[in-house]
Amino acid sequence: MLAGEQAIPERPSLLQRMMRANGPMRVRLNIGLLLLIVLLGLLAPLLPLHDPVRPNPLNRFKAPSLEHPFGTDGNGMDVLSRTIHAIRTDFALAISSVALGIVVGAPLGALSGYFGGRLDSVITRITEVFQGFPQILFGMAVLAAAGNTMVNLVLILAFYNVPVYSKMVRSVTLPLREADFVQAARVAGNSPLSVVFRHVLPNTLVPVFSQLPLSCAYAAQMIAGLSFIGLGVAIPTPEWGSMIQLGANQLVFGKWWASIFPGLALFISVWLLNNVSDLFGSLVVRRA
């Protein structure tokens, strides 16, 4: 046999290709800054910061100083330390809720789009009912009734991402159903489920990838929004929304630091996520 004369070479992974220094400057800058924020959050416990959850009644609403660069809040906790530690909370909640939404939504959409018929009708109706509820009100109601826990918060946000991703994947699946490579996959002996999950679904992920950071940004805003009105994440856990709320009524007295710094952190994160979302799609499409 002629085989095995040449070894089959290895190929760089998607991650390696993404990190290769040939992307446009804008992509690298935005992803770089975002990774910096994530890194800051991951390393927070190792950094020389004050304890983010230790109150000090004698040290309330102190203006920014060398000791407390971002000042202290109404409980006398260090705002810098809390702002950085809040990255962990907000990003973890946002990412896990979006990931859960995709893991459930994308396969539902692919199944619904590929098989069509009654299955499609059922899945589409259910997702439409999901989307019918006003999100903030529904979130408030569920958190009030089922308990104000982080797990519930993630579930609520995931609940709203499921229809977003199932509809998106369904719409991309419909034209793929008749594609030559899908027919070829059938000829190659794939079962219908295997056609959907090995051949159709991976080809629907480009729009999913470009939507992902946007969903994270939206989820982060929702988390902060719900926490601002006292649902979701409660003090003392560091979280931007609750921090803004804690400092909000002191703004009029000129004590701006307790709200402004977490607000800026939230703003920058959402902004970067939006930018990356715009650029991410093109990066994945090129794949080279």
Partner: protein
């Protein structure tokens, strides 16, 4: 000696019929008959040519044989077993035996899979191999179609059409099928690349125990090199069938003659012999009920052609023609 070795058909198509509905404005529905009682036989290891213009139903026939579409009527018999109405689950074991190469090599590969992944995907239906043996087999297959192992890691968009069509042939060969339906495998390729694919097929035909092929094309010239028998199809009808020599040297049906004249090889030999203008015109004009379907375009049409539905009849051993004037046109 078993029946197959004695020349019994591997695959037999009997009266295959397929209609498509086109939605029209309002409530009216127009039906298009893509296949109208097509019958065909394929013996083990044999290469059969199927020639017809676009829209003549040749690709539809392949998709029906491969169970990508359901027939509306007729039977497909593989090794003595009717397979046209089997449910998907019972059909799947046959996938290994019946393979297909698509017309467009670029769109027939999953853009997210490397060539190796695509071939491994096709090899998943060969359960007796373990993973290492399958990877080995991928290398063998690529060698067989004259692509090096270096192509294994490439994505489809990194390869040319000719290279991809070889990879598509490798994919079809992967499970060691008895039969490969080649749906215009050279139509999307350059002239020079076409020759390479044809040579590859000739090479595969030489192998002992290799698969049988149905080679679909709109270009009769290609079949001179690869086909042992040829079926000529138009408007979902077989109009003539016979051995390669019969079709090329003694074509009886006016349509076959027109096709031959349209190809440059035939032109020199046949210009004198036929009185037609030689245009293999592609038009979907429907003929009157009951008459010959090619009436509107046949230079030899007589009054009888408009009245009488034509049937396939054997005029020479192995040669069938759907024209009552076949004998007198010589």
């Amino acid at each position: 000696m078993n029946a197959e070795a004695a020349g019994e058909a591997l695959l037999r198509i009997e009266g295959a019929t397929k209609r498509f509905s086109l939605r029209q404005r309002g409530w009216r529905r127009q039906q298009v008959v893509a296949l109208d009682g097509v019958s065909m036989t394929l013996r083990r290891g044999e290469t059969v040519g199927l020639v017809g213009e676009s829209g003549s139903g040749k690709s539809t026939l392949g998709r029906c044989v491969l169970n990508l579409l359901r027939l509306d009527g007729g039977r497909i018999i593989y090794r003595g077993r009717e397979i046209q109405a089997l449910p998907e689950r019972e059909w799947r074991p046959l996938r290994r035996r019946l393979q297909m190469v698509f017309q467009n090599p670029v769109s027939s590969f999953n853009p997210m899979m490397t060539i190796e992944e695509a071939l491994l995907d096709a090899l998943r239906q060969v359960p007796e191999l373990d993973h290492a043996q399958r990877r080995q087999r991928v290398g063998d297959l690529l060698e067989q179609v004259q692509l090096g192992a270096r192509f294994a890691v490439l994505y489809p968009y990194e390869m040319s059409g000719g290279q991809l069509q070889r990879a598509a042939i490798a994919r079809a060969l992967a499970p060691q099928p008895d039969f490969i339906f080649l749906d215009e495998p050279t139509a999307n390729l350059d002239m020079s690349i076409r020759g390479q694919i044809i040579n590859l097929l000739l090479d595969l035909q030489q192998r002992e125990g290799g698969p049988g092929f149905v080679f679909v094309t709109h270009d009769l010239r290609v079949l001179r090199y690869v086909a042992e028998r040829i079926y000529v199809i138009t408007q979902g009808h077989i109009v003539e069938s016979g051995s390669r020599d019969q079709i090329f040297h003694a074509p009886r049906h006016p349509w076959t003659r027109a096709l031959l004249e349209a190809s440059s090889i035939g032109r020199r030999d046949r210009r004198q012999a036929s009185g037609s203008d030689g245009e293999a015109d592609i038009s979907l004009a429907t003929s009157p009920e009951g008459g010959c379907r090619l009436l509107a375009r046949c230079p030899h049409a007589r009054e009888r052609c408009a009245r009488e539905t034509q049937v396939l009849r054997e005029i020479e051993p192995g040669q069938q023609v759907r024209c009552w004037r076949a004998e007198e046109l010589d």
